[in-house]
Amino acid sequence: MKRKLLLLFLCCMIGSTVLGQQRLRLTLVVRDGATKKPVVGASLFIAETKMGGRADTAGVITLNHPPGKLTLYVSAVGYLSGREILVLDYNKRVEFYLQPRSTDLEEVDVRAQREDKNVKSVQMGQIQISMPELKRMPVVLGEPDILKALTLQAGVTTAGEGAGGFNVRGGRADQNLVLLDGAPLFNTSHLLGFYTNVNPDMVQDVSLSKGAFSPQYGGRVSSLLLMSTRNGNKDGWRISGGVSPISARVLVDGPISKKLTLLAGGRIAFPNYLLKLFPTESVKNSRAFFYDGSLKLTYTPNAQNTISISAYRSQDNFQFPGDTLYGWSSNVVSGKWSYLIRPNLQLNVTGLYSGYHLHVDGVSPGLTFRFTSYIEQREGKVDLFYTLNQKHKIQLGANAIRYDIQTGNVQPTGDDSSINPKVIAPERGRELGAYLNTEWELTPAISIQAGLRYSLFALLGPKTVYNYAENAPSSPETITDSVRYGSGQTVQTYGGFEPRVALRVQMAKNTALKASVGRTRQYVNLISNTTAITPLDFWKLSDRYIPPQIADQVSVGVFQNFQDNTFELSIEGYYKRLQNQIEYRYGANLILNPMLETALVRAAGKAYGIEFGLSKNKGRLTGQINYTYARSLIAVQTSFDALRINGGAYYPSYIDRPNTLNIQTRWAMSHNWTFSTNFVYYTGVPATYPDGQYTYNGQPVLDYSQRNADRIPDYHRLDVAFSKDTRFNKAQRRYGIWTLGIYNVYAHKNPYSIYFTRYNQRTESYRLSVFGTLIPSIAYNFYF
């Protein structure tokens, strides 16, 4: 058990005179470390003399004690006990602050939950990230990263080392509903994916649902990632932050008044000095920059009402000398009113805006332009939580979303630009959803969560819809006619039910069997013709030719805890079927294409797998091992032979990784040192190697006749980190945490990709390792 004690007054006079039998008065005032209120009934025990006392209603313990060096132990029910050494050389009054067991001054660790939650809760396929542990993990260049930590969990992968976004159980990166304080984030990365654009200091908890998630949420088919920012501290102002080789972060929070708290934080990056280290002029003169910032105001006028307003902004820029300038930003604002109507009835009303904007400035002489694209979502939602009794809860709600999307708009800049303006008509859509959900403990051994969501989507005008000849693949040449829809007119509607059911059967005290089944629908699609998502990708609403994506997932799992919940074992299997996936025709032109459907082809997907997890949550050595066997396959569905990829058969998707093994350990050493390790192994992702060659235009050309028929070599890596917490005791308010890490300790040259380069007439294959060596890092996080 950790002890937390803050001693505010400590005096040590070496040369003081010790008087024989004289007794001095020692007065202790024991207070709650969080509320500063007196702790009634706290006990004092002095080790040397076996004397002690109990605190009165004012939290005061008074003793007459001989002078000397004393070891004081203070304890109280509901608090972490404290220990302090004191030299009693005159009458002293000392204040002790005891920390409540349920809070941690450093940060709230989301693992502070029921120890047997994985057995007792009906949910399955859940991942939660501990924020304090995140900062002690070995990471590239010392920058703590939420999404990178998620990818060390079973069932979560990325397209490659340094790639943005993440993939859950064979789903694509755009199929994850990433919510920051309830508002969706359409882009989650800085620097093309090397870093996540959410500052971990701001975040209180992170939870990812890999399976059928609550019907309260909809709009994405693969997973739900909930991130909530912290509320400002009510008791006083605090400053915390951190410095890594690539960025600096700072966070300020505290009370503006008794009812109003503020949390404001930001992060700013300085990658340019890394670029300046390069000898090449073009790199040296390149510029990259990013920042993100958040603000949260929480107003609690009384015990029944809480109003909070969150704002978030992230911006990235980079430019090559004399070349195109890229910039992209995310802006999110959300407001939430929570009203406790009755002790068992709560109403939440939320309004939000989330936008992602991209601009590209071309600066070639005579061809200067600005290209822009964006997606904006405005949403209002109401949720009502009703607790009938401890065993039965009901939740219902509704939401309405308006989407505004610009897939592409190019305008000339400067007087001598030959570029013609071109605007793809902006898209507007409306999504309505309503749900009912119940969680019911039928018997102590059986719980069920059953919910039903209904979503209804409408694409709104103005829009021109083209009709194509039916006997040929759609193309600009096969347009037969077009229909023009006026502003606000409904162009196309889609909708349907999304049932989600989960069942838990307690087999024994520490054993549970769980099953879940669910359907999800998605009406927005990320258009991206590359393996990894990039900032240039754009969003597109479902329309006549792009029906909504639908996923059906069934999962079954066994959960077992051992030794007083010290060990957790889980085995989960799942099967997922995906409809209406988007694939791209060979040589598809996506940018500024007003007939985008002529570049796309519809596909079906399926994913299945089994995930084994074993974690140890108590003791000096904690950690987890997880192994996943998973497949992710896709097949193009078209009646036109020429458009079929691999003949229309199922083939491995870009995120198909059959075997994944992650081992994480954390060893709490003496003197507040912690030693953490990560080990990662996975099968290489599918790739397409050339399977033929010929000469064309006087040059050798490589032929790729089968897609994803090859695999790059397997990946494995070990990272270690030592972290030192500078606190003398857990109640200390001002402290720092140093983290020294080594990424890829044994310098394995992991293949990031295999590529082929031609020198004169000869083509050779090469392996690119992004982190081809070990990468040391140092980071400092402080709390003042």
Binding site: T280, A642, P700, G772
Partner: protein, 346 residues
């Protein structure tokens, strides 16, 4: 997109590493490859037919890849046809000297292989090529120590507003390199074979769609760079092609696939298929393209190398090129190239 790849690789350049690897290579069924074009210039026209070979890295077609015994037929929308005769392994040449491509007329190629497989192209109409307004020549300094000064040639033209235009440019030219030469005859004082006219061609696929600039001038579109080794004139010819939209898309795909670096930001790998399709099996699409294209050519003779680099450039010519001038017949140093100025440039 290239910038993104370059950026991401550069950012990690200090720690990233690249190693040559040997990979297991699959063997797939050979596919037909077609290369040829019909133009508005005088026949004969050539079609090259090969098969894809096993990937080996060497880049050379093997003899077994050449298509032998194929029947090749080119026809227009008015019923005129010409057959092709084999002139070399895999090489077929049109035999009717009166069959000449005309702008506005549609053409289709048929290939019947020895095993009876029949491939046809969808009829394509020959587009008209806009005129080149002017060729610009600019002396530039490069970081290439072997070729520190070059002339960059570019074209300017007025894009017609009334139609979609898809352009392609190629270019070639001559630059001179000098040696000490040999006596023109025994006992002669005059020197011969001291000036070699070295041919230089554009290598990159250079295409452009007027989609973004329709109806506007296209100014100084770069085509070719030729190194400067002496103050003799350079001779340049630039060919400007008008392509069909499908042909432009083929070249886009070719470029896209040719510049793949294996990065996760690469476009997805794809076979560079074109317009020649098996008449019975629609999924059997030949690699390469049979183009129906019109051409305009313009020549240019560099008269001056005036530029802000002039003094540095002349210093380079006199102190490096002339000082280290090789002895003997220039063809011994620079190969079988012309030793007199090629004709056709005024």
């Amino acid at each position: 997109m290239r910038q993104f790849i370059a950026y991401s690789l550069m950012l990690l350049g200090l720690i990233a590493c690249i190693d040559q690897v040997q990979l297991p290579i699959r063997t797939e069924t050979p596919q037909l490859v077609v290369e040829g074009q019909l133009t508005n210039e005088a026949p004969p026209y050539t079609v090259r037919l090969t098969y894809t070979g096993k990937y080996s890295g060497s880049g050379q077609d093997t003899i077994s890849q050449y298509v032998q015994g194929a029947q090749v037929l080119l026809g227009d929308d008015q019923g005129h046809t010409t057959s092709f005769a084999a002139t070399a392994p895999g090489r077929y040449q049109s035999v009717d000297s009166t069959f000449r491509g005309q702008v506005g007329r549609a053409y289709s190629l048929t290939v019947v292989l020895g095993d009876g497989k029949r491939y046809v192209t969808k009829a394509e109409q020959m587009p008209a090529v806009p005129a080149i307004d002017s060729i610009s020549a600019d002396v530039i300094a490069t970081t290439n120590l072997a070729k520190p000064y070059q002339v960059a040639y570019s074209v300017s033209l007025q894009d017609p507003a009334s139609e979609k235009n898809y352009y392609r440019w190629t270019g070639y030219g001559y630059t001179t390199r000098q040696t000490q030469g040999v006596a023109c005859c025994t006992g002669c004082l005059s020197t011969c074979y001291n000036n070699c006219w070295i041919p230089v061609s554009s290598e990159q696929v250079n295409i452009f769609s007027d989609e973004a600039i329709n109806g506007n001038p296209l100014r100084k579109h770069a085509v070719l760079q030729i190194p400067i080794y002496s103050l003799f004139p350079q001779l340049v010819e630039i060919q400007q092609y008008a392509m069909t939209q499908a042909n432009y898309q083929f070249w886009k795909l070719y470029q896209q696939q040719d510049t793949r670096t294996g990065s996760i930001f690469d476009p997805l790998p794809a076979p560079v298929t074109g317009n020649l399709v098996n008449a019975n099996v629609p999924t059997d699409i030949a690699r390469g393209y049979f183009a129906v294209t019109s051409i305009t050519r313009q020549r240019y003779r560099t008269k001056t190398y005036a530029s802000r680099f002039y003094y540095a450039m002349t210093s380079y010519i006199f102190n490096i090129q002339l000082y280290f001038m090789p002895s003997g017949d220039c063809r011994k140093t620079y190969g079988q190239v012309p030793v007199v100025q090629p004709e056709g440039w005024q």
